[in-house]
Amino acid sequence: MPDTPGRLLDEPLSEATFFILLSLAPAPSHGYAIIKNVQRLSDQRVLLSTGTLYGAIKRMLELDWIVRVGDPAPDDTTRTPKTYALSDLGRRVLAAETSRLRALLRVAERYAEELP
């Protein structure tokens, strides 16, 4: 049973944040791949800029929704892209938001059916 939004989230996720979490759900990913995944998942509707992406990544790291995986050692000078993965908390947040959106959709569909 997914968490209810009220328990995990103070307010609905922004579309960009939702799609970033969604793009990380199947597997860890690095920055450029996240931008591309978000484009694909949103049918080219959400086009993230690098600044927006890393601002969101920073906030999600602070909230422990995502984690850096395979963080290089401090003396590692290679340019291997850093990858990010959903944490358990991030998965629960994503599930809660999905549940909220699903509930919204149900209300909207019911309302649409009642329209003459």
Partner: protein, 238 residues
């Protein structure tokens, strides 16, 4: 990568320097790499696509800069103020502004040169305001406001922003008991009435002016003599 894309990357790298250091250290390299990859990918779709992506990136960068600087400030406690602290903060700036305004008005009429206590009093008031609010608002912010205030007062004091200030300094050197010739020597670079050096008016006075401008600058320095000795020095501001 084309020369144009390389230039864009260099410009992007420079702009990244505007981010707060903590953010730059954590994500700067990655952002540069992602931007370069994005340009590589987009360049194949032609110059219009490249420009569109660049415009989107610049927009994202500008929003990100504002957001990260705001976050950095909030983290340092400068913006994380309670409503009372916000009010105190505003009141402090207002008090400094009023005090500075009052001081510059007094300065305009030469009062600060004639009465150094006014400058000292203004600085003491500023220090007292600064000390009072230090406990209530972030210390760094109140100290910066105080330092700016003190610097502004010192600049106002030090800079001759009109001809009245050097005139007042010269008039201030005239002392009771001086001879007419000594006074004329000190005030040599100013207009005199009666015009001939050494001569005095029927009332036994020599009047000096620092400018022939009319309204607003027609200050008079009036030196009264008894015999050929100074007995009274007056500054009559316009």
């Amino acid at each position: 990568m084309s020369a144009f894309a390389a230039c864009l990357c260099a410009a992007y790298r420079l702009l990244l320097g505007l981010y707060p250091r903590v953010f730059r250290d954590a994500f700067g390299l990655e952002m540069r790499a992602v931007f370069a990859e994005l340009l590589d990918d987009t360049a194949r779709r032609g110059p219009i696509a490249l420009l569109a992506v660049t415009a989107r990136e610049l927009g994202g960068l500008a929003r990100g800069l504002a957001r990260e600087h705001r976050a950095a400030l909030a983290q340092r406690g400068s913006l994380a103020l309670t409503p009372i602290q916000h009010v105190l903060n505003g009141a402090t700036l207002l008090l400094f502004g009023l005090l500075g305004g009052l001081y510059s008005l007094l300065e305009r009429y030469g009062a600060t040169l004639r009465y150094p206590l006014i400058t000292a009093g203004t600085l003491v008031c500023g220090l007292a305001i600064g000390a009072l609010v230090c406990w209530a608002i972030p210390r760094r912010r109140s100290l910066i406001a105080l330092a700016l205030f003190v610097a502004a007062i010192c600049c106002t004091q030090a800079i001759d922003w009109d001809s009245r200030k050097p005139f007042l300094r010269a008039l201030g050197r005239v002392q009771a008991g001086m001879h007419v010739a000594e006074v004329d020597g000190i005030m040599a670079s100013y207009m005199r009435w009666p015009a001939a050096p050494g001569r005095l008016s029927p009332a036994g006075q020599a009047t000096y002016r620092h400018t022939d401008q009319g309204w607003g600058d027609a200050d008079l320095g009036v030196v009264t003599f008894d015999g050929d000795r100074v007995v009274k020095i007056e500054f009559l501001p316009d």
